[in-house]
């Protein structure tokens, strides 16, 4: 093919015989995109983000309404709880300064515990205003969880809306880019939280409850000790000459317990621990199958990190090996009703725990088995 006889003027429609209108067709969009390209992109992206913000706003309002309706339906309160609930939902937490990170874990733990304890007390007080209402642990924990969901959805909506409005106000396209990038993940999280509401309202086990489910069955028909730590239950058992200590959050309330405090209390009382086995739900990677069971080393426990830090601290100080078994699942599966695939893995994991005990310990040794996760709808 011969490229040498290309007429540039003809190609761009600028030749003598060309139509000036045709020339404009080429030139105008170029000028438009050079000077207003970012604004056009901002306009297109804004449309998509606006739709997501609208959805987030609906989730926020729905979660709050559902919580208020749930409180009114289940407690027969004499007064309207809307004002108090709105105040609770708006609570914020200021994470301690980390310019000098030494000792920050205890500070974070203190702040998070303060929020948790005070919110629980306020929910208890809100319910006990009515003499007919049952202010038992289960109901308080359920309302506290629903409150956390509503509060998280409120915070997600506020943050996304703030980032969007700031970019719009400044007409700044680069400012909207990070928001556009993280929005699919934020929406996944928000949709999971929205769908989690029904699970917690009906006290249906969630995917994260696989750890307590494994240990709960091992605890059946054994003497339980509920005073080891807040919302945490402990049982002693024996298996092929080994002493086993079973630990999980006290179900069927929507609580995760305090395993680090439980270990601390055991050590304080002189309890010898030779090995720790932790069972938890873990985030699967894209491409991995849901409900895949994996074994590994180290403390399998999520959350803000303070529990894991403390467990690792006790284990390293006393040279206690920590082994873990995890059941893989997505963010959505972890906080929404437990699926059949995940539930059916409980027996497989239980077998693996006993196998792990046999392979890694000898007779007369003590094994601590911890079922980590939210134990809603799962007893022991």
């Amino acid at each position: 093919m011969n490229f040498t006889n290309v007429n540039i003027d003809q190609f761009f429609g600028m030749g003598e015989e060309s139509n000036p209108l045709m020339m404009l067709v080429w030139i105008l969009p170029i000028i438009l995109f050079v000077f207003y390209g970012q604004r056009i992109q901002l306009y297109v992206t804004s449309g998509e983000i606006k739709k997501s913000i609208k959805k987030l706003n609906v989730y926020r309002i729905e979660s709050k309404d559902e919580l208020i309706k749930h409180i009114q339906d289940t407690t027969n309160l004499a007064h309207d709880p809307t004002e108090k609930i709105s105040r609770f939902i708006d609570y914020f937490t200021i994470i301690p300064v980390d310019m000098d990170p030494a000792g920050i874990v205890s500070k974070i733990k203190h702040v998070v515990r303060t929020r948790d304890d005070i919110t629980r007390q306020q929910v208890q007080r809100l319910l006990s205003n009515n003499p007919e209402s049952e202010t038992d642990v289960q109901k308080v924990a359920q309302i506290q969880t629903l409150l956390e969901i509503a509060s998280s959805l409120q915070m997600i909506h506020k943050t996304v809306n703030h980032m969007f409005l700031t970019a719009k106000k400044q007409n700044n396209y680069p400012l909207i880019l990070p928001l556009q990038m993280v929005l699919p993940f934020v929406m996944e999280q928000a949709e999971s939280l929205r769908d989690a509401i029904n699970a917690f309202k009906n006290e249906h086990p969630i995917g994260d409850g696989i750890g307590p489910m494994v240990v709960g069955k091992m605890m059946l028909d054994l003497q339980k000790h509920d005073d080891i730590a807040l919302h945490t239950t402990m049982t002693r058992d024996t298996f092929e000459g080994r002493k086993i200590i079973l630990l999980k959050a006290r179900g069927p309330a929507s609580v995760v317990g305090r395993p680090a405090d439980a270990i601390h209390n055991m050590i304080q009382k002189g309890q010898k621990i030779d090995i720790v086995i932790m069972i938890d739900a873990a985030l699967k990677m894209e491409g991995e199958d849901t409900a895949t069971v994996s074994q590994g080393f180290g403390a399998a426990i999520g959350g803000i990190g303070t529990e894991r830090f403390e467990i690792e601290e006790y284990a390293s100080n006393l040279s206690i090996p920590i082994l873990s078994i995890v059941v893989k699942q997505s963010v959505y599966e972890a906080i929404t009703p437990m699926t059949e695939e995940i539930s059916l893995q409980a027996d497989v994991v239980r077998e693996q725990v006993y196998e792990m005990i046999k392979e890694n310990t000898s007779e007369n040794q003590t094994v601590l088995v911890i079922g980590v996760g939210n134990t809603v709808g799962i007893a022991q």
């Binding site: 009906n202 249906h204 709960g216 437990m338 699926t339 059949e340 059916l344």
Partner: protein, 65 residues
């Protein structure tokens, strides 16, 4: 329709089930989940095969076809 392209995720309908197991003969019974069902709690029903008590083994949600 053959030419219809739908990128949007279909909203899946799920339903929850409670699986109870007889403590003696291990007969299982599957029924729809109802509020108040708790894993490892005894059910109000007795086993149809041996009249012994039943315990809830699993509670899970399943997508409807």
């Amino acid at each position: 329709m053959i030419f219809q392209i739908n990128d949007k995720k279909k909203k899946q309908t799920t339903t929850s089930y409670t699986i109870s197991k007889c403590v003696k003969c291990h007969t299982t019974k599957k029924q729809k989940f109802k509020k108040g069902d708790v894993v490892f709690a005894k059910t109000v029903h007795v086993c149809t095969s041996c009249d012994n008590s039943m315990i809830i083994e699993h509670i899970f949600s399943k997508e409807l076809e």
